[in-house]
Structure formats: C-alpha cells, structure tokens
C-alpha cells in the first residue's frame, strides 16, 4: 500500500513541474509588453521601465521562469502592483470561502444524487427511473450561470427569502453565512447531482446483478442493508472517481458562481484580476488552483485504492 502511494508520489513531481511551466508559459503569451498591459493608462515610460526592473522582464524567458519558480518555492509569489497585497495573502483570504462553497456543493450533490441513484438503480426501467434520468440529463445541459440566474430570480427577487449578493463571513455570523451561501451552494449542488446520480445508478445496476447480492438476500438480510452495505460499497468506488473527475469542473463552477453571487473567493479573485489586468495575482492564483487540482486528484487516487481492498493488495 505504501509502495503504491510512493509510486504515485513520484509521478506527481514531474506533473506539478509541468504545471508550473505551463502556467508561466501562458503568462508569456501576452502580445506586447507585460508592463504596459499592467499599467494601462499609467504606462509612462518611467513607470514601464521601473516595472520592467521590478519584475525582471529584461531577462531571457527561461531565467524569468527559474526566478519565478524560485520565488514560488520560498512562498513568494509576488504582489499586486496596484494594491501591494501579496499573492499569498490574497489567496489565503479568499481560500476559505471557495472551500466552503465547494464542500457545500459536493455534499449537496451527494445528498441529492446518492439516494436518487440508488432508487433508480433498484427500480431501473420504471417510469420513476425514466423521469429522474431524463431530468438529470436535462440539467447537465443547463449552463451554470443560467441556473444561478434562475434561482436568483425565484428565490431572491420573487420570493425574497434568500439573499443574492450579500456575503457574510463564517467567523462573523454562522447563520448569516449559511444564508448567504445557500443560493450559490444550491446552484452548484443542483449542477453536481446529475453526474453523481447517473454514475451511481449505472454502477449499482451492474452490482445488483452480482451473485453476492442474491446471496445477501438469501441470507435474509433486510433490503436496506443489502443496498447500503452490500451494493453501495463496491459502487462507491466509481462515485469517488467521478467526484475526483468533477473537481476540475467544480473549480470552474466556483469561478462563475462566486462572480455572480459576489462571494470573495478564489474564483472571483481570478476573474477580478483579469478585469484589473493584475497579472501577478492572476498568475499566482492560477498556479495555486492548478497545483491544488493536481494534489486533489492524487488524493482521490489514493482514496480509490483504500476503498477497494483488491487494489490495495495488489490485485485489480
């Protein structure tokens, strides 16, 4: 087992390095001068020269990369030339909000998707199954911002029961925080559950046909135990996989949702830094998100092995 984790860890390092290189490369895509772009209408020759010096833009590209990478490894990702706030500080401030949003979204998605998945698997082919599966398919075609606007329209404007854009930090007021996260969280959860439900349903239908399920029934075990223990456990693997696969999509989802609901999270940081042409922040934030994504996928891989004892003991 440890050998397995060790092997995956070794694979991790070149991927992370490649990610940093790619992030840096994207930054160099900018046509024209970075300093000019950042300064905008404040781009006087003196300011541009000063910024050049500060960011080391005169050096060849590969040296800039190494310089930057060196900084990253020591925790220095630079600072906003506008506000002076360091990238690390900005990320640290925004991260909890995004994490809270993602957790709510994933939990909500599971809470809706898992029971529906089990239900549809047990009643595969029935009209209930067809209706739920059809609904799931339909929701997968709904763009995230569309659902967000719909929910805002219904719950904030028409019914006025939930706020649309007034974020309250968790540390300040728990209830207020939950209220302000309700709509954004619900939007993402509603977008998440169809994928989870479809995968679980499909996997469970296969599992339910296995001999050991017939055996469990022959033992006289109650349906609840047969479903939740005997059937769900083998199927939970694919669930973990799909959660992992969807994290990337979820991250993208938080970008748009945070922007619409004005939540001070990482996603909104990225968008705002694009608007303000604060490329230092943008680069740092993108790097952080990308590396986090790689690490999360790594954890999902390990979790997958933990759940399936067959993989753990070296047999697939």
């Amino acid at each position: 087992m440890l050998g397995f984790i060790g092997r995956r860890l070794i694979y991790l390092v070149p991927v992370v390095l490649a990610v940093t290189a790619l992030t840096f490369l994207i930054a160099s895509l900018l046509p024209g001068d970075l300093a000019v772009a950042m300064l905008g209408d404040q781009a006087t020759p003196e300011n541009v020269a000063a910024l050049h010096k500060k960011l080391g833009l005169d050096l060849p590209l590969w040296r800039q990369y190494l310089h930057w990478l060196g900084g990253v490894l020591t925790g220095d990702l630079g600072a906003s030339h506008r506000t002076g706030e360091t990238v690390l500080h900005a990320i640290a401030n925004r991260l909890p909000v995004t994490i809270e949003l993602m957790v709510i979204a994933e939990l909500g998605g599971l809470l809706i998707g898992v029971p529906l998945g089990i239900l549809c698997a047990v009643r595969a082919g029935s009209s209930l199954d067809k209706a739920v599966s059809g609904l799931a398919f339909g929701i997968l075609s709904v763009p995230p911002f569309l659902l967000a606007i719909l929910l805002i329209f219904l719950f904030a404007l028409r019914m006025g029961i939930l706020p649309a854009t007034s974020y309250v930090p968790l540390s300040q007021d728990v209830l207020g925080n939950l209220r302000s996260m309700a709509l954004p969280g619900a939007t993402l959860a509603l977008l998440e559950w169809p994928a989870l439900m479809r995968v679980l349903r499909s996997d469970m239908i296969t599992t339910l046909q296995e001999n050991f399920i017939a055996m469990a029934r022959a033992k006289g075990l109650p349906q609840r135990r047969v479903l939740l223990v005997h059937a769900l456990k083998p199927s939970s693997l694919t669930l973990v996989t799909i959660i992992g696969l969807n994290i990337g999509r979820l991250i993208g989802g938080t970008v748009i949702i945070e922007t619409i609901f004005a939540l001070p999270g990482l996603g909104r940081l990225i968008v705002e830094s694009i608007y303000t042409r604060d490329f230092i922040i943008l680069q740092g934030a993108v790097l952080f998100v990308a590396v986090a994504f790689v690490l999360i996928n790594f954890v999902v891989d390990v979790l997958y092995a933990v759940l399936d004892p067959r993989i753990r003991h070296g047999r697939a």
Binding site: L140, I242, R249, I256
Partner: protein, 289 residues
C-alpha cells in the same frame, strides 16, 4: 465542461437497451440544430431589425408587435440580437470542437496505433493539459491573449484535445487487432494506408458522436466567457453577454435574460441529445450486430 466528464463515464456504462432513442425526441433535437444553424447562416437575409440599433425610447420593453421578443436595456431588438448571437455561439461552438477533433483524433490514432514511446509522449502531454482545471485555463489564456473569436476557437479547441485523444485512442485500440487490419498488414500495406483506409473510417463513428457532445460543452464554455465579458468582443452580440446584461435587469425586465437563456439551453440540450444517442449507437466496444 459539464458534459465532458460526466457523459464520458455515464455514457459507456449506461443503457442495457440496445437500439435506443432515435425516437421523436431525437429528431426534434436534430430539427432544432438544423434550424438554429440555418438562421445563423441566413441571419443577414432574414427580415430582422438591426441588432445594434438602439431605440432609447423603447428600452426594456416586453414582447410586442414591433419587437417580437422585446428590447434590451439599450432599446435593441432582442430577437435579432438572439439570431445574430447564434452566429458567435455556433461559430465558436462548432469550429473549436472541430479543431480539437481533428488534432485530438490524429493524436489518438497515432497513440493507439503505434503505442510505445509515441503513445507515452502523447498521453504525457495530454495529461499535463488535463492537470489544469479547464475553465481556469481558458480564462487565463484568454486574459493574456485577449478575447477575439479566433483566440477563443483556438483556446477552447486545444482544451478539447485531451478528451478527444482519449476517445480516439480507445477506439483505435479496439480496432487495431481486428482481422481486416491484420490482413492489410499481411498484404504489405504501409502504416499510413492502414491508418487512413482501415482504421480511420471506423474510429470516425465514435469521434463524430463525441464531437457533438463537445459542441454542447463548448457552447456553454463560450457562454460563460461571454457572460464574464471575456468572450467574443462587442459589438457582436452573444448569448452570454445578453444574459449578463439581462441579469442586471432581472427585476424589471426578466425577458432580456430569459430568451437567450432558453435559446442556449435548447441548443445545448439538442447537441447533447443527438451526440449521446449517436454515441450509444456507434460505440465500437458494444458491437451492434
């Protein structure tokens, strides 16, 4: 990239029913797609108002005889903006996946056919691309390159390459060991000939189905970018930017947001339906007859 991850897993393990879903819903979807492409192409010839003409006296007006779907916050006709907006969404939505399918298809074919180091390199590169959360990557690139229709097509197209490569590679692997390929090789056919004449025609089937699903995904992605103001730049109308603008007027004129929303939803749904149905029919692993 909603349908990208979900339907990849969900589609393969799905449906014990074999000949599924070419029913009325399928044909309705095909009809909608044909319709929307047609009006996008013929937009200039249709009797529509000028999409950029602002009638400041009739702002935020609901549907009426003069303006069938109402006007937006600057008094522009929503219907005509909707039709012209279809152009942007469909241009990006069709060309980006096309680019991705051509590139990714080629890479996947090569990786699946030759295996070995070529496969390792190709898969390694696509893995690096996959290591990025896709929307964030798209945002970052567009931020630096600047939004333009060409950039969007390039960026979104490249983002689809890893997924297409995987599909193409899997399909190639399934076909590679079949008898007619071995026969061709025994007859001394060159690699190029085998790839183009024997393998490609078969692999094209699942790839085409996947292409359609990708179109749906890219339309949404373009919509998100436009919504954030990073999509096709003005003055071209886009569904995303219309919805963004409608969002600010949700309380007084909800129609500004809802008409483009419905158009986008129906189009994405239609492509998803057709792509998913065709995928169920053409999956080489399933073996129809």
């Amino acid at each position: 990239m909603a349908a990208l991850d979900a339907s990849e897993i969900g589609g393969v393990a799905e449906a014990p029913s074999r000949r599924r879903g070419m029913g009325p819903v399928f044909w309705l979807a095909v009809g909608w797609i044909a319709f929307i492409i047609l009006i996008a192409i013929l937009a200039n010839l249709l009797p529509l108002a000028d999409p950029s003409k602002m009638t400041l006296l009739a702002r935020r007006a609901g549907p009426s005889a003069a303006h069938l779907l109402g006007t937006d916050s600057l008094g522009r006709d929503v219907l005509s903006r909707l039709v012209f907006g279809a152009r942007s969404s469909l241009a990006v939505g069709l060309l980006a996946p096309l680019l991705g399918t051509l590139a990714g298809g080629a890479l996947g074919l090569l990786a699946g056919y030759f295996g070995g180091r070529i496969e390792l390199i190709i898969i390694g590169l696509t893995d690096v691309l996959l290591a990025f959360p896709p929307l964030v990557l798209a945002l970052a690139v567009v931020a630096y390159l600047g939004p333009s229709i060409v950039n969007l097509i390039l960026v979104l197209g490249i983002l689809t390459v890893p997924a297409v490569t995987r599909v193409a590679r899997a399909a190639t692997l399934a076909v590679r060991e079949r008898d007619f390929v071995t026969a061709a090789r025994a007859l001394g056919a060159s690699h190029r000939r085998i790839l183009l004449r024997e393998i490609l025609p078969i692999v094209m089937l699942p790839l085409s189905a996947f292409f359609l699903v990708l179109v749906a995904v890219i339309i949404v992605a373009e919509g998100i970018l436009s919504f954030l103001g990073l999509g096709v730049p003005p003055p071209a109308p886009t569904w995303g930017s219309m919805i963004a603008e409608g969002r600010d007027n949700l309380d007084v004129a909800p129609h500004i947001a809802f008409f483009p929303s419905i158009a986008m939803f129906l189009t994405v749904l239609a492509f998803n339906l057709v792509g998913d149905t065709l995928r169920a029919v053409t999956d080489p692993k399933r073996g129809t007859s």
